[in-house]
Amino acid sequence: MPATEPTPPLSSGDGISRRSFLRVATALSAGVAAMAAGLAPLRKLEHYSSVDEFLQKHYLDLNPAEMKRVLARIEDEVQRQYKIRPHVRDFRPMNGVEFVYALNLSRCVGCRKCVHACVAENNQSRNPEIQYIRVLKMPNDGSFDMDKGDTNYAPKAVPEAGSFYMPVQCHQCKNPPCVKVCPVKATWQEPDGITVIDYNWCIGCRYCEAACPYFARRFNFTAPSIPADKLNPNMSYLGNRPRSKGVMEKCHFCVQRTRDGRYPACVEVCPTGSRKFGNILDPNSEVSYILKNKRVLILKEELGTLPRFFYYFDV
């Protein structure tokens, strides 16, 4: 114990004097309190739940047994946080399938149902708000300049005269700038055309967000908050499992639905049927028909990103 002045001699044989006791006790408690205060931030580490998570390999390096353990661990984590046992699966790309999306700009009325269906399906943070789809109200001047788009329109009824509506989300490019810039290979393109993110591998540098010409990537600046009763328990590793603070996320064509053979949530809710989705390798799919027969627009085609997301017109 450091003492600033020499300890006075103890009275012979019968314990310690009150003065020396107080001195020692004060110094001691001050030192211990300081140590406890210094260690206090460690308590916040509890959400780095396990050594397993810390030592987890990259998604593409996990063997089936390891994957099973990882999925079980994620289910445990979600159950601990939301008191709901989810069903977390790892959907792999299907053979002979390449997904393509088509959106009918002549029909879209800008009702934003897709935005909210996406939020509900994909467990996006409600606060702060994260939305994958951004619906731009565009002036009908033929320019297709995204900078002229307004996302905050709030009229009593849509559509409004003199404008059209252009929902923008991840274009699942064949030549994705976001994948090229990722320094840790936490995002990559799968054989079925979906660019996915391993949320456990992402370091949150946001290079991909800066690289994306479609403003499709979202960053979790804080831990996302989702009301437990709004949680969608049908989850996938690369898709809609709850994200953590400091990772990127984006539209993944609802992998938990589409790799199971179903339509994405945004397609199902669109009241005007503007959203079309399917397998471009199947000549009888609706997207094959659209690309063969309709006038198609590729947003920012000049950038050479080769999107798998097409806008089309039919009126």
């Binding site: 509900a120 409600r126 804080t222 589409t258 809710v269 009241p271 799919s285």
Partner: protein
């Protein structure tokens, strides 16, 4: 060194550490500072893939199941509306509903359950019809009124059946084939999937692909798609101004 002193010091130290450990694990950590924005009433009915209206065909083929009409978007489930009958025991349709039932609109497509309608009354205590409802139920098929003759589509001898231009009789749930008679290109697109709504499974080896017929979205008497109330936009935090 005095052994009693050492023992005492160690005992005090132990007690102190134990006390601190208790305090350490019982005091809550300082909460993370996050921006607390008001939650946008987001996903009320957004994920329900219901169509704009219930087609007569669907109503007939399901044996009159109107559950998809979402009456409880406006009505309180605990105090259901009173049904009034006239002298002949026919249901008296309330004035504010005549158009809705005629056009079979799905209320919840515009009125989410968490944002119920506030009814306004005039001096005689009658519900004031909102403008958006006045046009429902008008005959407005064809922009130059060339199609206002009921018997262009309805069979004159049996009004709940349809007949095409070449005389084929169709039931109400086959209305799509009747529409195809005039709107051939749209029908072709619909068959290929480029027009209209699809839900369920794109991969038909795994499940059923659900297609919606014309009258699930278009009112056959006024087929132009009516304006919708947009869902809330991004939080004002993201607004430009």
């Amino acid at each position: 060194m005095d052994p009693r002193k050492t023992t005492l010091t160690l005992a005090v130290l132990t007690v102190l550490f134990l006390g601190l450990a208790v305090v350490f694990f019982r005091t809550p950590a300082r909460p993370e500072r996050i921006f607390q924005a008001a939650l946008v009433p987001s996903d009320a009915l957004a994920i329900v893939p219901d169509t704009i209206r219930i087609s007569a065909g669907r109503l007939v083929s399901s044996g009159g199941d109107a559950s998809g009409l979402q009456c409880y978007a406006c009505h309180d489930k605990k105090s259901p509306p009173k049904i009034v009958y006239d002298a002949n025991h026919h249901v008296v349709l309330p004035k504010e509903h005549r158009d809705l039932i005629y056009s079979m609109r799905n209320c919840a497509e515009c009125h989410p359950a968490n944002d119920p309608v506030k009814l306004e009354y005039d001096a005689d205590n009658n519900v004031i019809l909102p403008k958006a409802h006045l046009r429902l139920g008008e005959m407005a098929h064809g922009s130059v009124l060339r199609n206002e003759d009921c018997y262009t589509c309805h069979d004159p001898n049996q009004l709940d059946q349809l007949h095409t231009a070449e005389g084929t009789r169709l039931t109400l749930d086959n209305a799509t084939l009747l529409c195809a008679g005039c709107h051939g290109t749209t029908y072709r697109d619909w068959q290929a999937g480029a027009h209209g709504r699809r839900s369920g499974y794109w991969d038909q080896s795994r499940g059923e692909l659900l297609r919606q017929g014309c009258t699930s979205c278009h009112d056959p008497h006024a087929p132009v798609f009516t304006p919708l109330i947009p869902m809330p936009g991004p939080h004002a935090l993201h607004a430009r101004n």
